[in-house]
């Protein structure tokens, strides 16, 4: 269906609103002067300066390290939890688990951050530590807010799956563990992958929870940016944002490309199947 003209104009206006700040970031990252609102000439000097800023580069590495560890741990634990929740027959236990899982998603980030910080500080004080906030407290916090997203991605896939599948594998002599890896896991893999990607990006982008649970020694990129924006900001930060933008853009294009490939393959398969005579669709009439 072609879009109508009014729809097109409306969509275009919204896109201008969404991308105006990003366009400004891109342009001013090449500014010669220090200003973020008056463009004086093209220069790459802020990029050069960015690559000389060891503190920011270390923050990038820290962020990646944290996001990789948090997303891997939360994906493994969350997938296992989803399998367990799916098999759970005790209704009270199940609804309790469901509500607890929902808490980090419903609660504002600032409350999740404050609550974890209070606990870490309290427990740290019990052990007589001057400061208990470190990489580990941040890792725990990131795993905690990533877990619900993994579970919510995996659980529906488990519910869609044919329950007989793992049982058949076990009847044919698989151990339960082997049945899970050979029969169940491939079925729920799309959910697991989506969960992993969501957890990774949530961890990468998180500022509020990190802000409250970060130690002095360990700085992630959002926290580094926060301290940069407390002083006067130079186009260096825009250079950083521009690089992030192009990394994201290429990742998205790449994943879209793979999706399309997969879709094309599926379509071809479907076509070869469609050549067989089909029964008339009676279902339509019985629906009202």
């Amino acid at each position: 269906m072609k879009m109508k003209r009014a729809s097109k104009i409306y969509t275009a206006l919204i896109m201008i609103f969404l991308f105006a700040p990003i366009a400004i970031l891109l342009v001013f990252s090449f500014n010669e002067a220090k200003s973020l609102s008056v463009f004086t000439g093209f220069s790459l000097k802020w990029y050069r300066e960015l690559f000389r800023d060891t503190e920011t580069l270390r923050a990038v590495l820290n962020t990646l390290l944290l996001a990789v560890s948090a997303s891997l741990v939360s994906t493994v634990m969350g997938t296992a939890a989803a399998v367990g929740i799916n098999k759970l027959r005790n209704k009270v236990l199940r609804s309790t688990l469901d509500s607890v899982t929902n808490i980090p998603m419903i609660n504002p980030d600032i409350i999740t951050g404050i609550s974890l910080m209070l606990m870490f500080v309290f427990v740290g004080r019990l052990f007589g530590a001057a400061t208990s906030l470190s990489f580990w407290t941040m890792l725990i916090s990131h795993i905690t807010f990533c877990l619900p997203y993994v579970i919510l991605q995996v659980l529906p896939k488990l519910q869609q799956m044919d329950k007989a599948l793992p049982e058949a594998a076990m009847d044919l002599g698989c151990t339960p563990l082997r049945a899970f890896f050979k029969a169940e896991l491939p079925e729920i893999m799309p959910g697991v992958i989506t969960g992993l990607i969501m957890a990774f990006t949530m961890s990468l982008d998180d500022f509020v929870i990190s802000y409250f649970t970060a130690g002095n020694g360990f700085q992630t990129l959002p926290i580094r940016i926060y301290s940069m924006t407390k002083k006067t900001v130079t186009p260096k930060m825009y250079a950083l944002a521009t690089i992030i933008f192009f990394v994201i853009l290429s990742l998205l294009l790449l994943s879209n490309f793979y999706d399309e490939e997969a879709m094309n393959k599926r379509r071809q398969k479907k076509k070869s199947k469609e050549k067989q005579p089909q029964a008339p669709n009676v279902k339509l009439k019985t629906q009202n």
Binding site: M1, M15, S37, L97, I114, M117, F122, D205, F207
Partner: protein
């Protein structure tokens, strides 16, 4: 599968997560309550909670001075700005979600990607970029004066904060509504117009009721982060007026953990009550439908 192995699997898969959830989701919330109801020496007290409701400060607007309830004013302001932002997001986002859902498959995936790209940019940088746009000597004013349209003063006003909130949380409104609308059965809409329902009525009587679950989750996903934000108000509000998030963050930076916990506790209770009410409303609507 016999019952014994089933139970064993259940225990092995559920135990790590259950322990984790209790330790790092439930217990920390208990700590919020514990800090909220204790003083520096961890003796029980109501002082933190009552301070939220009774603390006053003097507002001086040049001619007259008046005394106001500090934190109640902050809370009402947060609520007002968050509600305005949510309504603006809904009014802007609903038509977009509708347009997207009815576009061709290819257009849909392109638009979806476009809407998600800003979400992946760091939100601090996005907000900062808005600050450079809206400043008195900023890009918007440069643009306006180049067109001889005069200048506007917007930074440091409530409108600037609302713009920031709408920009940052707009995708959270569009995406859930879109995902519901994309699943709507086209036959249903065709049936409605075949039976003589005019276009606008189809929207009001068929599409809108069916999209309510998406609208509700969009509303919560915009309302909750915008009521609790503290960065947007600092940058776009020029730090001139506090929101509830600023109050919590300020007490945290001042190392006043017990009062920070009290504000967080009150915010949490209020949000919980709102969510429960909304859930009830949604359920009643579903039953009625």
């Amino acid at each position: 599968m016999n019952d014994k192995t089933r139970r064993l699997i259940q225990r092995l898969t559920l135990t790590p997560y259950s322990v984790w959830a209790v330790l790092f989701i439930v217990v920390p919330l208990l700590f919020v309550a514990y800090y909220a109801f204790t003083d520096q020496n961890f003796h029980f007290t109501f002082d933190n909670i009552s301070r939220f409701f009774t603390a006053t400060s003097v507002v001086d607007n040049g001619e007259t001075t008046r005394e106001v309830h500090t934190y109640l004013v902050i809370f009402m302001r947060s609520l007002k700005l968050a509600v305005i932002s949510t309504v603006v997001c809904l009014v802007m986002g609903y038509p977009l979600a509708y347009i997207m859902a009815r576009a061709s498959e290819r257009t849909q995936s392109v638009l979806l990607t476009l809407i998600m790209i800003p979400m992946w940019m760091n939100f601090l940088i996005r907000t900062y970029a808005w600050m450079t746009i809206l400043q008195d000597t900023g890009i918007l004013n440069g643009f306006l004066s180049a067109l001889h349209l005069g200048r506007i003063h917007i930074i440091g006003t409530e409108s600037a904060v609302v713009i920031g909130m709408v920009y940052d949380y707009f995708p959270y409104m569009v995406l859930p509504i879109y995902s519901i609308m994309a699943k709507l059965d086209v036959k249903l809409l065709e049936a409605a117009s075949d039976l003589g329902c005019p276009g606008l009525s189809v929207l009001r009587r068929v599409i809108w009721p069916l999209s309510i679950p998406g609208v509700l989750s969009g509303i919560t996903m915009v309302l909750i982060p915008s009521i609790s934000t503290f960065y947007i108000s600092q940058k776009l509000g020029n730090g001139k007026f506090f929101l509830i998030g600023d109050a919590i963050e300020g007490q945290y930076t001042a190392n006043n953990l017990h009062f920070a916990a009290a504000i967080a506790f009150i915010l949490m209770v209020i949000l919980l009550v709102c969510m429960a009410l909304m859930q009830k409303l949604a359920n009643r609507r579903l039953v009625a439908a």
